[in-house]
């Protein structure tokens, strides 16, 4: 019979103050989890409003100006307040030090500061919604972002501040991984989740300052007219796009690399099979991090960028496909002859494999210069990046959340309902975005408030899909919250994992481990070590 330890990080110490001033990485991770889920809800509501307006052509219930604000806020919130911090700051904070066998991250105070900075930045973003939300799109392209009367400055200030939070988390993880690994855990004995977060942290530290300076220059352009992006003053609006994408393209890898890291972890644990190609998966994360800095111009093929630059960026873009492909093939090879268990995390993992592959391959279409001329700024692009960001990162995030949920709370959710929900998410997602691929390839432009009647059928399907997806997320929220209070105790190692987080109690002790753990085997040595998952033991005794 599994029991929950009386003294754990959730119950000790007690009181609101002990949470607000906590230096415990697990509590900070949990605070991040609640904050990002709140903004996922807000961004999701905006998405549903967008889809409702697009159900019929013409104006239904919001004006064209409001519509522009809705898609801007949906994008900005989902990117800056949800996806970028989602996996590293919540699951990373909760799990990384446990996986390394450490008591905490290297700089616990910096960690808490990063959460408060996140909240502070979020307040600016929320204020911008009240003070006449920006309508520029989340990309803030000049010259429009200089001219519009909406609240561009408060939203960009919010994103500027949020950047610091992201840098602090990245810096903290880099030092933690270098310095706080358990005795015996050499670089190539680290779990792949750690490798993924390491590559992510490098990008966070190197690229995010460029976003900071870009947004600062934009604010100065608006306030003081310094003339760096404004052509009327001798500036270059396309230069803004270079600045913006030099951060924002690597930023999409800040989003997807931790997702890939989760999948590498889960696919091995839930098929009880040693990961295929450990080293190449680890190296491919670093390769993706590096190549991500060389391809930003593929967002600018029709911006007026020189043809030479277009050709160079198109050529370089294809290189990203190589390490991504390496990962996918290694994951599939891991499944071969494994003892695959169709648990909820594994269902999300399979969903990831399918959706990310579609997202990745359509990215190759868009990276091809000539094809992009046709598809640029259509719904094809919208569908592509939702397949990678949502079908990839968000699905991986939910896979990880279901995988570590019993570790975080010590309790198990209802697996039957969770599996049904996973299927609903998969169907809802595809119903939303497959029609967008089709209408995009037929020329439906993105960010348009109105459209020709010929696209109506596809828009209707997409809206039905979005509401199905929304319903699935509501069900997920209900069963997860229910499990916190009423779930069955999950045991220390419900899935039979070998990494260190499964060797402590669920939920973990405030200090993680009673004594420093020693790492004597590899993270995926399922060929030599037999572990019986606590959940299956429970089923047998029942």
């Amino acid at each position: 019979m599994n029991i929950i330890p009386e003294k754990n990080y959730l119950t000790y110490p007690k009181g609101l103050k002990s949470w607000l001033f906590t230096l415990d990485h697990k509590r900070i991770g949990l605070m991040y989890l609640f904050a990002i889920m709140f903004f996922f809800l807000v961004g999701g509501i905006f998405a549903l409003m967008i889809r409702l307006e697009l159900f019929h052509p013409g104006q239904d219930f919001v004006s064209a100006d409001t519509y522009n604000q809705l898609f801007t806020l949906h994008g900005a919130i989902m990117i800056f307040l949800f996806i970028i911090p989602s996996i590293p700051a919540s699951l990373g904070n909760l799990i990384l030090p446990l996986m390394l066998g450490a008591k905490d991250v290297a700089f616990p105070r910096l960690n808490l500061a990063s959460w408060y900075i996140y909240v502070f930045g979020a307040m600016f973003a929320v204020y911008s919604m009240i003070a006449g939300a920006a309508d520029t799109g989340w990309t803030f392209y000049t010259p429009y972002s200089i001219e519009t009367n909406t609240a561009v400055i408060s939203l960009t200030t919010g994103a500027f501040i949020l950047g610091f939070s992201s840098i602090f988390t990245g810096l903290n993880f880099l030092v933690t991984i270098h310095k706080l690994r358990a005795p015996g855990m050499t670089w190539f004995k680290m779990p792949l989740f750690v490798w993924g977060l390491y590559a992510t942290s490098i990008i966070q530290v190197v690229a995010t300052p460029v976003l900071g300076i870009t947004l600062l220059l934009l604010i100065l352009e608006r306030v003081a007219g310094i003339g760096i992006f404004n052509p009327a003053l001798g500036g270059d609006p396309v230069l803004f796009q270079h600045f913006f994408w030099f951060y924002s393209h690597p930023a999409v890898y800040i989003m997807i690399l931790p997702g890939m890291a989760i999948i590498s972890e889960l696919i091995s644990v839930h098929s009880h099979k040693k990961i295929f190609g450990y080293k190449v998966i680890a190296y491919s994360s670093l390769a993706i991090a590096f190549i991500s800095f060389l391809v930003w111009g593929h967002h600018m093929f029709v911006s007026g960028q020189s043809e030479l630059a277009g050709m160079i960026f198109s050529f370089l873009t294809f290189f990203v496909g190589v390490p991504s492909g390496i990962k996918v093939f290694n994951w599939v090879a891991t499944l071969y002859k494994g003892a695959v268990r169709f648990t909820t995390p594994m269902l999300y993992t399979f969903a990831f494999l399918i959706l990310f592959t579609i997202g990745g391959l359509t990215g190759i279409f868009l990276g091809a210069l000539s094809v992009d001329i046709h598809l640029h700024d259509t719904y094809f692009v919208v569908a592509h990046f939702h397949y990678t960001m949502m079908g990839g990162t968000v699905i991986a995030f939910f896979a990880g959340l279901h995988h570590w949920w019993p570790k975080i709370w010590g309790r198990m959710y209802n697996e039957r309902i969770a599996k049904i929900t996973a299927v609903l998410v998969f169907i809802g997602f595809n119903l939303t975005f497959i029609p967008q691929f089709i209408m995009g390839s037929h020329g439906m432009p993105r960010r348009y408030f109105d459209y020709l009647p010929q696209y109506q059928g596809m828009h209707e399907l997409s809206t039905y899909g979005a509401y199905l997806l929304g319903t699935a997320f509501v069900i997920m929220a209900i069963y997860l919250i229910h499990s916190i209070f009423k779930g069955k105790p999950a045991g220390n190692n419900p899935w039979g994992g070998l990494t260190l987080e499964w060797q402590t109690t669920s939920p973990p002790d405030p200090h993680n481990f009673h004594e420093v753990p020693v790492w004597t085997h590899g993270p995926y040595d399922f060929d030599t070590i037999k572990v019986e998952p606590d959940l299956e033991k429970e089923l047998e005794t029942a």
């Binding site: 190197v206 460029v210 270059d236 396309v238 230069l239 270079h242 030099f246 800095f293 060389l294 930003w296 111009g297 600018m300 007026g304 960028q305 020189s306 043809e307 030479l308 630059a309 160079i312 960026f313």
Partner: protein
């Protein structure tokens, strides 16, 4: 035991003074060179001296010369990423007038969709 970390604190005062003197001297040189007309090379010389001065500051005042070489690697990688940003952006900004000569025209001028064969010098064909 003497570690590298302890060693860096014992950098002699003389080194700091010498580096400071070198920086001042190079500033004088920069100003002096600006009075000599070297054509486009004025800029090259000025940037060259400035780079050398920045290197002195990084190596001695910021202790990169004495510290763990990991910090040097981190510092250089920052410069490398800045270089990537500037060089790839210049492939755009310096080459905007380099327009590819090929312009749009029918793929097959005699295709059946055109009532009359499209003239080759026209870009959109005859409908």
């Amino acid at each position: 035991m003497h570690t590298k970390t302890e060693h860096k604190h014992s950098t002699p005062l003389l080194v700091y003074l010498a580096v400071g003197g070198a920086l001042l001297f190079l500033t004088v040189i920069t100003v002096a060179v600006s009075y000599v007309d070297l054509g486009p090379f004025n800029l090259v010389v000025a940037i060259g001296i400035a780079t050398f001065k920045a290197m002195l500051v990084a190596l001695f005042f910021m202790h990169l010369y004495y510290d763990n070489k990991l910090f040097m690697a981190v510092f250089i990688s920052g410069l490398m990423f800045l270089g990537i940003f500037i060089i790839l952006t210049m492939f755009d900004t310096m080459k905007r007038d380099m327009i590819y000569e090929e312009v749009a025209k029918p793929i097959r001028p005699n295709a059946i969709i055109y009532e009359q064969p499209a003239a080759t010098d026209q870009t959109d064909g005859q409908h």
